[in-house]
Amino acid sequence: MALPARSYANALVIGVAGRLDQDNCDAFRADLMAHVERSAHDGGAVILDLSGLEYVSSAGLRCFMLASRQAKAQHGRIFVASLQPMVAEIFEISHFNMVFQVFPTVREALAAASIEAAAAFDKA
C-alpha cells in the first residue's frame, strides 16, 4: 500500500483511504511505520488524513496505536484529521480519541503541529 504523502514544514500529511482491516493492515503498517520513523521525531508531526477512510477494524486501530507509540518514543507527534462519520464513531467507541488528537480538518491539525506547517499549507 503506497500511501500518498505531502510535506508541510515539519509536518507530513499521509492520506489513508478505503477500508483498513485484517486483510491489508500489514502492508499499511509497514508503510506507515516507515513514514513515522522518518518524519515524526524531535517535534516533527505526522498527520493522518482520514478523509478517504471508510472503515477501520481493530487490526487497523492497532496499526495506528503502534505508529503513535513509535512517534512518542522518538519525541514526535501524530494527529488524525478529517474523519468520516463511521470512522469517527469507531474512534469514539474505542476511545482512540484518547490516543490521538483528532482534528476536523488537515489544516487544523497542521496548525497544531506548527505555525510554519500551517503557513506552508496555506501557501500551497
Binding site: Q22, S58, R62, M98, V99
Partner: protein, 646 residues
Amino acid sequence: MPRERVADRVVVVVIDEKSLGAHGQWPWPRDLVADLVSRIAKAGPLVIGMDIFFPEPDRFSPGVIAARLEGKAPDVAARLKGLPSNDAMLGAALRAVPSVLGVAGIETTDARFAGPPPAPPVRFLDGAGERLRAYPGHLRNVREIDAGAAGHGLYSVDLEGGVARRVQLLGRFDGATVPALAVEIIRVALGSPPLVVAPVRDGTLELRFGEYAVPAQADGRAYLRYGHSRPGRFVSAADILDGTADLTALGGSLVVVGFTGLGLVDLTTTPLGEMAFGVENHAQAMEAILEGQFLRRVDLAPRIEAAVLVAFGLALFFLMPRSNAQRSAAYLVAGIVAVVSAGAAAFLFLGLLFDPVAPVLGAAAVFGVMQAGSLAEAQRQRQQLREQAARMAGELDAAKRIQMGLLPDPREVLDGERRADVAALLEPARTVGGDFYDCFMLDERRLFFAVADVSGKGLPASLFMASVKSILKSAALTVEGSVGGVLVRAQDEIRRENPESLFVTALAGVLDLETGELEYANAGHEPAWSHQPYGRPERLDASGGPPLCVLELYTYPTTRRTLVRGEWLLALSDGATEAMNPAKEFFGSERLRTTLAWLGDEADAVTIVTRVRDDVRRFSGTAEPADDLTLLAVRWEGPGGAVSGR
C-alpha cells in the same frame, strides 16, 4: 501446389486398351511398332522417345518364324528367311527420325549387355558428380533396334512409398554416364548439345545442356514439380495406326511412346495423389525441364530442418514455463504456422523443398512433454496448497477449539439461580477473531460478566485471548472495589505478557442480584444496551477508556446504574454492529435498536441472543462473517427471582 502448364510441346502416344483391342495383345510384332513409329515420324515431331523396351529379339520376326517352319513348310520358310527381321524394321524406322531409346539401370550385370551403355559425352566441372547414383549393370534394346537411336536415356523414377517424387536425372555406369530419358529427349531435340554437370555451392548439382539448366541433388536425382495429369495430351496408338488421329499436334513436338493398357502398365502415384501411368512421369519431367520448374532440395536441407526443430523446441522450452497453457498453445500454433509458411514460401518462390513435418512433429512432442510436465507441476502445487489449507484449517480449528473451550455455559455457572437469567452466544468467523465472554458469581449476590475482543485473528489472537480471559477473571476475583479497578489491574497484568502489542476491548460489569445495582466499565468496547419493562431499548453510556494495553496506566472509570425488575442488558462485540451485507453496508446501531425494540418485555435471555444473532445473519445474507459475533444477555428478575408464571 501443381505446376501450371505453360507449354504443351510434349505428346504421349499410348498403347492403350483400344490399341490392344484393335491389334492384339502385347507384345506386338515389331513391324507393327515400326509402322507406328513411321506414322508418328511423318507428322514431323522433333524427337520420338520410347518408353518401351525391347531387350529380347522379336519372336514374330520372319527369320524366327522361318526357323520354326523349316521342317513343316520349307518353301514358306525359305521365303520368310529372305525378309528383313522385325527388329531391323523397327531400327530402321527409328533411325529415320531423331529417336531416344531407354537404358534401365539394374543392380546386377546382364551378360547380353556387357560393357558400358551408349551415352552422350558428359563434362564434369570441378569434381562434380562424384556422388552420382551408380548402377552395376544395365538393360537396353536389342542391338538391331538400339542402333537406330540418336540418343539413350535412363529409365528411373524413384518411388518413395509408392509415390513418384524424384527422377534420376543422371546415372553412372561403369564407363558411362547416362542422362534421364526426359533429359535425353530434349537434348536430342536441341540437336544434341554436350552435357555439362556443374557443382552448385550448396552441394547440389546443375545439369546444363543448350540453354537449359536443371538442378539436381548430389546423387543425380531431382524433385519433380508435378502438374495435374491431363488426358488431352494422350494420343491412342490405335488412332495413329488406323489413320484417324489428328497428327498436327505431333508436329514440332516431343513425343513419348508408352503404355496405358491394363496389364501392361506401370501405374504410379504422383505427389498430387493421382494415379499416373509410368510414361506420364517422363512427360512431366520433360515439361518441368522445359519450364525450368524443378524443385531443389539443398544438401543442407536436413540440417536446416534439424536446426529449425532444435530452435523451435528450445523456444518452447524457454517460453512455456513463463506462460499459461493457452499462451503456450498459441506459441506452438504460431510456430507451426511459421515453419509451414516458410516451407511453402521456399517451395513457391525459390523452388526449394523443405520438410516442415519433422520440425512440427518434434515441436509438438516437446510441447506435449512440457505440457505434461507443467501439468504435473500444477498438480504438485495444488497438492501443496491443499496441504497448506489443511494445516491452516488445522490451526484455525485449534484456535476455535481454544476459543470455544474456554467459554462457560451460563446455565451451568448459574445453575438454580432464579434472580438472574443469563444467556450467551459466540459464533466464530471463519478466520477466527479473538472474542470471548465470561460470567460467574463473585459471591452469593454479585454476578460478574464481561464481553471482550482481542485485536488480531487466528491462533495468536486465540492464545492471547485465553491468557486475557484468565487474567481478567483473577482480577475480578481479587480486586476489591470498583469494576474499573478490575480493568486497571487486568491491563497491568496483560501488559507484561504482550510482546505483540495486541490490545483488548472489553466491557465488564458487576450486577448485585439483590438490589439490581449495576456497575460497569468500558475499555474501548461497544456499549451495552438495556431494556426496561414498558420502555425502549437504550444504549448505555459510552464513557470509558481506550482498549486495554493501548494507554498504559489509564484509570478506567466505573459507571453505575440501578436496574428495575425485569430489565435486561445486552452486551455484544463489534461482530454484530459491524456485520456487513454483500453490498458492504454495516448492520449498525439503528438496526440493532429496531431488533431489540421488537423483543419486548417478556423476552428471556436465550431469546434475546438468538433473535439478535438471527437478525444479524439475515442481514449479512451470503456475505461471509468477517468477525466473531458475541452476545451476552442478562435479565434481572429481582431479589425474589422470576415472577411466577414465567
